[in-house]
Subunit: 473 residues, 2 copies
């Protein structure tokens, strides 16, 4: 387990380097390097020897930590072994091919050119789901478990159905308001504000890096080597939000109990819980009116003056649009609801790939009141399906819900944190998250962890309470 | 072989990151990551399966390239298999421990504190040499073959003995001269000159990185992702020399025949041949009076004015001193001659570790006329022996000799290259090196390659002709 943990760090580092440091012409060799590394890791993670060790441990008396290590080792090993090597190879090749075809088809707005590759990925994902599905589990649920172990389709139907009911009226309400002024913040002021803000949150040179990449992401190369990236563009303040978002991912990994280091438990427990941590810092910290005072002060130090209230208005503006990645906090989950409906139907065999564009347009109109101008800006806007990822999208919306639920639970226990956000003294927030979420690593699955942290199952009400003021403006 | 080649690139990248990008607190986890990666690579490089493949290929009809791939695969596999796993583990632990003890002992100038760790490394290296030694091969020769396959002690005695005869009179001559003025070049001018000079040699963003690290080194992550590092300190021009030195290493790896990519032949053939490439660019290009004109122009562009002749004088100043890494081109090989004599005696059992300091002092006086002020500045100045590396040092001096021999052979064929160096149009030099040295990768061992490239065996005369003018001043 220690070796696999080390190799996973190496893989993440090599991926980070590819996106942040690698000279462009290094790409073909890098693909080979990552391929060989992934193959070695896969071989060792699925080795028959692990099965022998697990058999030896059957019925052994173990302390609680070792019990969890063995439990997760068994789960991971059994899942990995259920997919035949030939299917795994076919999935990898279809994913690489699908991404390339997606890239070209999107550039040409040509869904027909993409459809065969997508159909192949759907078929292979169905086959994979079939291999993985346990007793009474659907293929889609088996795929979901890659990202969120144990999550049920029924649970997703319940919460996403409720969001599809509750959010559209709020969006209609928001449409009545006049939009916030777009800000024109120079890049150097954004850079200074990002650096200053992250510094206040504990991002220091000895164990962090902050770099620029085409798409913001976070890499953790061990708990004392955390690397967030951001990007800057003239005239918007996305960097302020995205750097807090990445900080949330990073803090989760850093605050896992050190006793779990180099075990299979040392890491975030699921995609949705991870996304909840990024969304907590993006939605509930960066978009908090109290924190806008701090952000405005940091922008001021970078040479750009703005009133905190005006900055806050810009950070929480609501405007339904066709594109998920630039959606505001209120409309964002509905982009996911649509993807969930469609990918479930694709995997269940109720939607043909050829019918996807029409279904997409219908859904966008129904959920968001948005007319889709093209497939490139419609069902081809995301790479996920072309890369063979089905069951990933729900975590984005679950993250929003869980973040709101955790934020309320924390304030119920500690009292309002406005003063912390105003001053940047966020240690109490960090500590609460460490205690209730981060330290557990993978020892608890998503819903169990949420239940322990908040005393309740998954709910949409805290999220609705969070977005209501955004609708009101 | 392709997988091993990929993993070697990954290992080099992880090492590069550690020295150039990693936050300091990431070090303990990184040691684990590198350890796990090295173990995986070792396991796969020594796998019984490779032996089976090699057996299947016995007597197979292969083309020339495949024949070389199989020949080297057999050699590498057999050598790696000859060292028992327990000894390999002990070697690794003694190396790690020895480096740590060396660091402390050197800081305290306390040879007694270092001696036991050194003695353990000597004993283990002897044991390893015993395992590796082939028919009629000494233990030391077996260790030498880690770095320079097939090199013989007798050959080293011949050339190093000749250097010990020929260089001291030249050094005595150089001592008559007044030393060159030390330069005071601001760091930003050095940076501009290094960047500008490397750009003229073909170092462009799409496939190179140039970074700063504590000790200059080069990493090749595939032939189109080359990373050199340098360091800057106020008041000397070491960066100009060391960046050309690293460029030489880099160019060797980049110009290996692309047909060898992802085979076991894709790389420099030996440490001495690699060092010859770095020394060629350091000694014969950077220290060439014609190239001083280019360097002076680049410094001028960086805001620092100096006459080319004065710059050249500073780059070729001779001053015998106790420290190898800062030695000038004339005295440098004698530092190596001393280390060769002593490590050979240690491995042959003719010198006890306890007697090393005295033997060092005697040798420094005999070869260089230098009084050794302390063991820290004497036999503890280098990490190599404490890390268990015996047989590595000779390559540093052989590199100087081979560089001079290649440089003469190239000019004999192409005519003087002064005009190339004056203008930075070095394509003819790059092409000659590619054709005669680089493209072969590991297909030819050092002496065979040298013989093909120059028509002669290893000689010291070209080097003597190179240093004679430095002695005259």
């Amino acid at each position: 387990m220690a070796e696999l943990a080390d190799l996973a760090c190496v893989e993440m580092l090599v991926g980070w380097d590819q996106l942040v440091m690698m000279p462009a012409d290094g790409a073909p060799a890098r693909a080979n390097q990552l391929g060989s590394l992934a193959r070695v890791i896969h071989e060792r993670a699925t080795a028959a020897q692990i099965g022998e060790w697990l058999a030896e441990l059957d019925g052994a008396v173990l302390d609680e930590l070792d019990r969890d290590i063995v439990r997760l080792a068994r789960r991971d090993w059994e899942r990995a072994r259920r997919v035949p090597d030939e299917l795994a190879a076919e999935l990898a090749s279809a994913s690489a091919d699908g991404q390339e075809r997606w890239r070209l088809a999107r550039a040409n707005d040509d869904f027909q050119a993409f459809a065969p590759a997508l159909a192949r990925n759907v078929e292979l994902a169905r086959a994979r789901g079939q291999c993985l599905a346990g007793e009474g589990e659907s293929r889609y649920e088996a795929l979901l478990s890659d990202y969120d172990f144990g999550l049920r389709t029924q649970e997703l139907r319940r919460v996403f159905g409720a969001l599809a009911e509750e959010l559209p009226p709020l969006i209609a309400q928001a449409r009545q308001r006049s939009p916030a002024h777009a800000l024109q913040v120079p890049v150097n002021a954004q850079q200074a504000a990002v650096a200053g803000t992250l510094r206040r949150l504990g991002v220091e040179q000895a164990s962090w890096r902050v770099d620029v990449s085409a798409h913001p992401f976070t890499a953790w190369i061990g708990s004392m080597d955390t690397r967030v990236t951001t990007r800057y563009s003239d005239g918007n303040v996305e960097a302020l939000l995205s750097s807090l978002h990445e900080y949330g991912h990073a803090l989760y990994e850093r605050q896992v109990d050190p006793a779990l280091a180099r075990t299979n438990l040392a890491g975030g427990t699921s995609m949705s819980m991870h996304e909840s941590q990024s969304k907590l810092w993006e939605n509930h910290v960066a978009r908090n009116p109290a924190f806008a005072e701090l952000l405005a002060a940091e922008l001021e130090a970078g040479g750009y003056s703005i009133a905190p209230a005006e900055l806050h208005r810009a950070l929480v503006g609501v405007a339904p649009s066709a594109i998920r990645v630039s959606a505001d906090p209120l409309t964002y989950p509905l982009h996911i609801v649509l993807r969930f409906e469609l990918e479930l139907a694709l995997i269940d065999g109720q939607l043909a790939v050829a019918d996807l564009p029409a279904a997409w347009r219908e859904g966008m109109m129904r959920l968001l009141g948005v007319e889709v101008a093209s497939d490139a800006l419609g069902c081809m806007q995301d790479v996920h399906w072309g890369a063979g990822s089905f069951g990933y999208f729900p975590s984005y919306a679950l993250g929003c819900l869980i973040a709101a639920q955790l934020w309320e639970a924390m304030q119920a226990e500690l009292g309002p944190r406005d003063e912390d956000l105003r001053t940047g003294e966020v240690a109490p927030i960090q500590r609460w998250l460490a205690e209730h979420v981060h330290r557990h690593g993978r020892r608890l699955d998503t819903l169990e962890l949420l239940e322990q942290a908040t005393g309740r199952g998954l709910e949409i009400e805290p999220f609705l309470r969070y977005v209501a003021p955004l609708a009101e403006g």
